[in-house]
């Protein structure tokens, strides 16, 4: 069924990534590549800057600077993009609450020596917000599908690298980054450990991230793109290609031997089936064949599923359940705005618990109001994009559906570990959220006059 208010596809197909000389889409593509292929939080440039100079924040600063320069000095655009009302409200609210929570608790934060870590986390949050804004303001509708393809290609490479890491113990992402960035940056050693001592728990397979759960999250968030591209492919050869990519992505997620590697992809599949059952059912026979092949060729790939009954896994579950009563004193003492954003320093194990649940972490740090804003940040892209989810327009519908499922996967992953402690998944989530905003936007020719009131114009154009 066609959506009631299908936005215009507009004239944006002419100058769109990858066939464009605009630098910003290229920078965004490079940033996406770095999320999937580089240990972005483990690369430390050898320059000392007055602000946090870690690789990811440095890259985001470059993107924001390029956007600002382009916005101030670019020629008048031929098209005006009208975005849904309140597309950035939740992100702004969360940022505002994060800063307020720190400002209110600053006396205690400085007394406990937590300002340094809070400052770093706040810098990451500002970088996340800035990236979301720039991507949402930059992307064009015609660029959504190419970016969806890029995400799948990158996730496939990450999946292959993670499987290779599991088999050999060599982390190609860290090794390559160390060689490439040697002249300009220091790269942390890889945390990979495929044969841990008996008392060290499960193997550590992390891909380009610092934790197996983080690589599992980014792969699971990319999975809907591969499935949607497979479902909408018109030729069988293309469809097989996308299905192969999806299988590699799932295998990569399962290779981490984390329960989440099975839980999040399963949730993604359920979401897609719920939203577009007919299209996704077409893939069912291929899925059965892939499953049978995997069981026959490499049955060990499903070791993540066996993790559900493993003793170490039960300990992990016990750890999660003991978190709930343990944080009650903090919730009662700071119910509204929490103890201050970024003050939950898991390195101080004598003071703070490692909360394996981002929602608990948020209510601990930014209180009930912050948790609401955080939830709103996850839900807003879904709310914004709802009008185009069922669209048959190949430029909007499939990328919107995949991005929305990716955002939901992030929401699920938030319940499984402290996701904001590792930057890759949050960056990817906000890029997908920006894709949702873009998919629901309306592109109209600018003409000679500038649209004075974009909100009213958006409402009129989509009514």
């Amino acid at each position: 069924m066609e959506a009631k208010a299908l936005p215009l596809d507009g004239p944006s197909g002419v100058d769109a990534w990858p066939r464009t000389r605009r630098p910003l889409p290229w920078l965004i593509a490079a940033f996406l590549a770095s999320i999937f292929l580089l240990p972005v939080d483990g690369i430390h440039p050898k320059v000392s800057l007055p602000f946090s100079s870690d690789f990811d924040r440095f890259f985001v600063a470059v993107i924001v600077a390029a956007w600002a320069m382009g916005s101030l000095f670019a020629r008048r655009q031929r098209i005006v993009r009208l975005r849904s009302r309140g597309w950035a409200a939740a992100t702004i609210a969360f940022l505002l609450i994060a800063v307020t929570s720190i400002a209110i608790n600053i006396d205690r934060i400085t007394n406990l020596g937590e300002w340094e870590v809070a400052q770093k986390r706040l810098a990451v949050l500002i970088a996340l917000g800035a990236l979301f804004a720039v991507v949402a303001l930059t992307l064009r509708v015609a660029e959504l599908r190419p970016f969806a393809v890029l995400i799948v290609v990158l996730a496939t490479i990450t999946g292959l690298g993670t499987v290779y890491e599991k088999q050999t113990g060599n982390n190609v992402f860290y090794d390559t980054a160390a060689k490439v960035f040697a002249p300009v940056a220091e790269v942390d050693p890889s945390p990979t450990e495929i044969n841990p001592a008996w008392d060290r728990g499960r193997p550590t397979i992390t891909g380009p991230t610092r934790h197996g759960l983080s690589v599992t999250s980014i792969l699971s968030m990319a999975l809907p793109f591969a499935l949607v591209l497979a479902a909408t492919a018109t030729r069988t050869r293309r469809r097989l290609l996308w299905i192969a990519a999806a299988c590699i992505i799932v295998t990569g997620a399962l290779a981490t031997q984390r329960k989440s590697g099975a839980v999040i992809p399963a949730f993604v599949l359920l979401t897609l089936f719920a939203l577009r059952p007919r299209q996704l059912l077409r893939l069912a026979p291929y899925g059965v064949i892939a499953l049978a092949l995997a069981l026959a060729v490499a049955p060990g790939v499903f070791s993540s599923v066996q993790e559900f009954g493993h003793a170490d896994s039960r300990t992990s579950t016990a750890g999660r359940t003991t978190d709930y009563p343990a944080i009650v004193p903090d919730l009662l003492s700071h119910p509204l705005l929490g103890r201050g954003y970024g003050t939950l320093d898991s390195e101080r194990a004598d003071t703070y618990r490692v909360l394996d649940n981002e929602y608990l972490g948020e209510v601990f740090q930014v209180g009930g109001l912050g948790l609401l804003a955080f939830l709103a940040m996850i839900v807003t892209p879904l709310f914004v994009v709802r009008s185009v989810l069922q669209s048959d327009s190949p430029m909007r519908g499939p990328p919107a559906l995949a991005a929305a499922a990716g955002c939901l996967a992030f929401g699920v992953a938030c319940g499984l570990y402290d996701i904001l402690s590792f930057p890759q998944a949050p960056y990817l989530f906000l890029i997908m959220a920006a894709m949702c905003v873009c998919a629901a936007s309306v592109e109209v020719p600018a003409g000679e006059t500038v649209v004075e009131d974009p909100r009213a114009a958006y409402a009129a154009a989509t009514s």
């Binding site: 300002w115 340094e116 004193p329």
Partner: protein, 282 residues
């Protein structure tokens, strides 16, 4: 383009932006200072803090440090007991007396258990409740002990370097005095007595020069940014309100029914234009 357009719109409303800057400056001051009116005063809310550390060795009178024949294992266990004892109220009152500080101004934490599963390492609700009560203390002590060594490491935090060093130095002195008293009461023979030796003078330095400037800048930017973000929709709402007044109270849904030529603000014209473009694209 959108940034340029937004900046242009803000420039047109520069007086309101100026008002926002004033409000942001007030918010920034209130975020880092406690403002008193009678008499007028400013007290910093952020604390400058310094730390100092030292170590104490739990030893025998003849010193097992250099004598290979002496077994140090019993001393390891005692060091663990002392490290825990030092965080107790009795020890804190002794340390406070030695450092010439009020006992209720000092918060102390015992050694962190290293050899337990990760699940058990984090504080329980009871322990967190105690920690929360002591979070406001300006003088803080933390004790660390490696179970296989007869050494206790002392970390002290205070508002100045001198105070931090004094606090750290007071710990071995207070512990020694307490143990000496017990040994005297129990008449323990000299060769069986435990001896507390301080391993060098306490050293320290200022860790944090305060976060006033950073916090104030952050609050200023955020408040001004939010003010500017709200300014544009607020202007739109105000303009819509005026338009409704001009139309005699009529309401045009989504602005699509209003006539830009009639209201003179161009809003209706632009909306109509968007609709026209849409029709044309179809």
């Amino acid at each position: 383009m959108e940034l340029a357009r937004t900046l242009k719109r803000l420039w047109h409303r520069r007086r309101l932006v100026g008002l926002g800057a004033l409000l942001a400056a007030i918010a920034a001051i209130f975020s880092v200072y406690q403002v008193g009116l009678l008499p007028p005063s400013l007290h910093s809310r952020t604390n400058v803090f310094a730390t100092a550390s030292t170590q104490l060795l739990v030893d025998t009178p003849a010193s097992s440090f250099a004598d290979i024949a002496n077994d140090i294992e019993p001393l390891d266990a005692r060091a663990g007991v002392f490290a825990r004892f030092l965080a107790s109220p009795v020890a804190i009152s002794l340390i406070a007396r030695e450092a010439k500080l009020p006992a209720d101004a000092i918060e102390a934490q015992g050694p962190f258990e290293l050899n337990v599963p990760e699940v058990q390492q984090g504080p329980t609700a009871d322990r967190r409740s105690t920690q929360i009560v002591g979070e406001g203390a300006l003088y803080r002590l933390r004790f660390e002990n490696n179970p296989s060594l007869p050494i206790v490491t002392i970390f002290a935090q205070a508002p100045s370097e001198d105070e931090a060093v004094t606090l750290a130095t007071a710990v071995p002195v207070a512990l020694r005095a307490y143990i000496d008293r017990i040994q005297a009461q129990q008449q323990i023979p000299a060769k069986r007595r435990v001896v507390i030796r301080r391993l060098g003078k306490a050293t320290g330095g200022v860790v944090n020069q305060g976060a006033n400037l950073q916090i104030a800048t952050l609050v200023f930017i955020v408040v001004l940014g939010v003010w500017c973000l709200l300014l544009i929709p607020a202007q739109t709402i105000a303009r819509g309100w005026r338009e409704i007044g001009g139309d005699g109270g009529g309401w045009a849904p989504n602005g699509s029914g209003s006539n830009g030529a009639r209201n003179g603000h161009g809003r209706g014209r632009d909306v109509s234009r968007a609709e026209h473009e849409r029709q044309r694209a179809r």
